[in-house]
Symmetry: C2
Subunit: 331 residues, 2 copies
């Protein structure tokens, strides 16, 4: 209990003391990592300063995107992969971009609870990020959480997103490696979804492979990949039954092999995409916050009311508002 209390006091000191927080991150302390992510997530004072320093000191980890429709078993697969990678004592990070929380800010997922069994393991840091309206966008917060985990020495960082939605897709497509999770039960829409994600998958996982339709689904997936393929070798397909732990070893080996195969050029290409994406998001947030500074809620509301009264259209109103922010630069 006394130890718990001293931890609490320690936490408070961290926020006053950026040096202490950064030192904690470098030592891989879960409390420090968690506090840093909260700082950037809530865009608290000091977040920018923290990220500037984190960014220049981080070691590069491998970011593995895991994507698939709801119910495909992503979280269970990640849970199993954590176990396998931890057998080798590799430091891991997991960022789950939670599709359930745009409104409530945190429905409890059974899957998250299942993953909690790793929470006593200091070598694994798991963080669920809600998709509720971040000012700077979910994408930026995720990019920053990745950088923090890299600074903390995590070698592999799993980013789990539901494979629908523009932000969620953007997040995963900038990973170093993308695993697309499918199941044999896919309906019409999932079918179309498959066609959509063909291009980002470096690896396809057919989960729930013990279902009777699995054979047919695999053939179908293979022929879709062949159709979409550019003559190069096809991305590997791994069959798993995550709930029983089947196929996880093969999946781990495939992930490792794909990481090994990457040449320096493709690593740089992907990193460049990731960096460009983060830069764009940071700029976007800066511009947005300038807007909210210039137009506090009351002033914004009065513009909306003018539009509703038919006194002005939204496009002319936006022009005028932008001019106020941009100042003399706007013609």
């Amino acid at each position: 209990m006394t130890k718990r209390l001293s931890q609490k006091i320690g936490e408070q000191n961290f926020s006053k003391n950026l040096d202490g927080l950064i030192a904690g991150i470098c030592r891989g302390e879960p409390r420090a990592i968690g506090q840093a992510i909260s700082l950037v997530e809530n865009n608290e004072p000091g977040a920018d300063e923290l990220m500037k320093r984190i960014y220049l000191m981080r070691k590069e980890g491998v970011v593995i995107g895991i994507t698939g429709a709801p119910g495909t078993g992503k979280s269970t697969l990640v849970d199993q992969l954590i176990e396998k990678f931890r057998e080798e004592k590799i430091p891991l990070g997991v960022i789950a971009v939670d599709p359930s929380s745009p409104f409530t800010g945190g429905a409890i997922l059974g899957d998250r609870i299942r993953m909690m069994r790793h929470s006593c393991d200091e070598g694994v840091f798991i963080r669920s990020m809600a998709t509720r309206g971040y000012l700077g966008g979910l994408a930026k917060a995720t990019g920053e959480a990745i950088a923090i985990l890299e600074a903390a020495g995590k070698k592999y960082i799993f980013v789990e997103t539901v494979g629908v939605g523009q932000d969620e897709v953007d997040i995963v497509r900038y990973s170093d490696l993308v695993a697309v999770i499918l199941t044999p039960q896919a309906g019409d829409e999932i079918q179309a979804f498959k066609a959509g994600v063909m291009e980002i998958g470096d690896l396809f996982v057919l989960n729930k492979a013990d279902l009777p339709e699995a054979e047919r689904a695999e053939r179908q997936l293979r022929s879709m990949l062949e159709l979409a393929g550019s003559g190069d070798s096809l991305p590997p397909i791994v069959k798993t039954v995550a709930t029983k732990g089947e196929g996880i070893e093969t999946l781990q080996a495939t992930i490792k092999a794909l990481i090994q195969q990457r040449d320096q050029e493709s690593i740089i290409r992907r990193r460049k995409k990731l960096t460009g994406w983060l830069l764009r998001e940071v700029i976007r947030e800066k511009l947005a916050s300038l807007l909210w500074e210039a137009f506090p809620p009351k002033e914004f509301d009065s513009q909306v009311e003018k539009i509703m009264a038919g006194e002005i259209d939204p496009y002319t109103a936006a022009d005028l508002m932008c001019k106020k922010i941009i100042g003399k630069k706007e013609k």
Copy 2:
């Protein structure tokens, strides 16, 4: 064939002639509506001017958001609703925010094809919008498509989105009325998703209600709604089997009743949210396009390379870039 050709020529004239395009929209001509939506979707020259004029002249329609996870049968339900509403000759618009196309820009959905049966009906306008990276965001393009359909005299506008992803959720939550589609087959994640969408649903549809688990699912849904409820009356639950057309009449009647029940205050409240949302999106796009003007791809890339080389961190780079755009206004 000659008629077809003259239509083509007519289309070309439209783009040169904004007056003609707007007149076509007001007459509810599908070609004019389609061309106007393409104009704003691709942010072509003239799009802003078009929207300024559209916005001030549009008649207000009722925007009905239809949301649910992939495979719940949203499109089939919308298809059935179109049929029912068209029996009364009510002009309709449908915007399907397509989750399948962030990459390919247009996988063909079986559901969309099914809906094509309404394409000979001039009173229905159906448009599928891809979720591929719009510069100004999918949200803005959708908001503008709604305004165009309203100007074209569509009385009901269905906006169908997959209920996951920040943008998709934002789009639907600003509808006048939101129907959340669920099925009895929901797994763990859908379960959590349900908890997340409780707050935006004005109406819940339990589709595939002929499945054996339907009774249990309905009880579960009801108790979740009771838990989430603020003591007011619970939102209605309608059971349907969309593929067989079962329950569609009840669904239509429920939608109509809910629209009738709304008081003037709640209509204004929702419209205000919708207007504020569009204004925000328009401003965001304006700010972003200022950024891309100031930093063409080559210049942006050179910044990214500096970051990768460790010469600068993304936050300092963003500061400098924003200063260039904002000019003297930034301290």
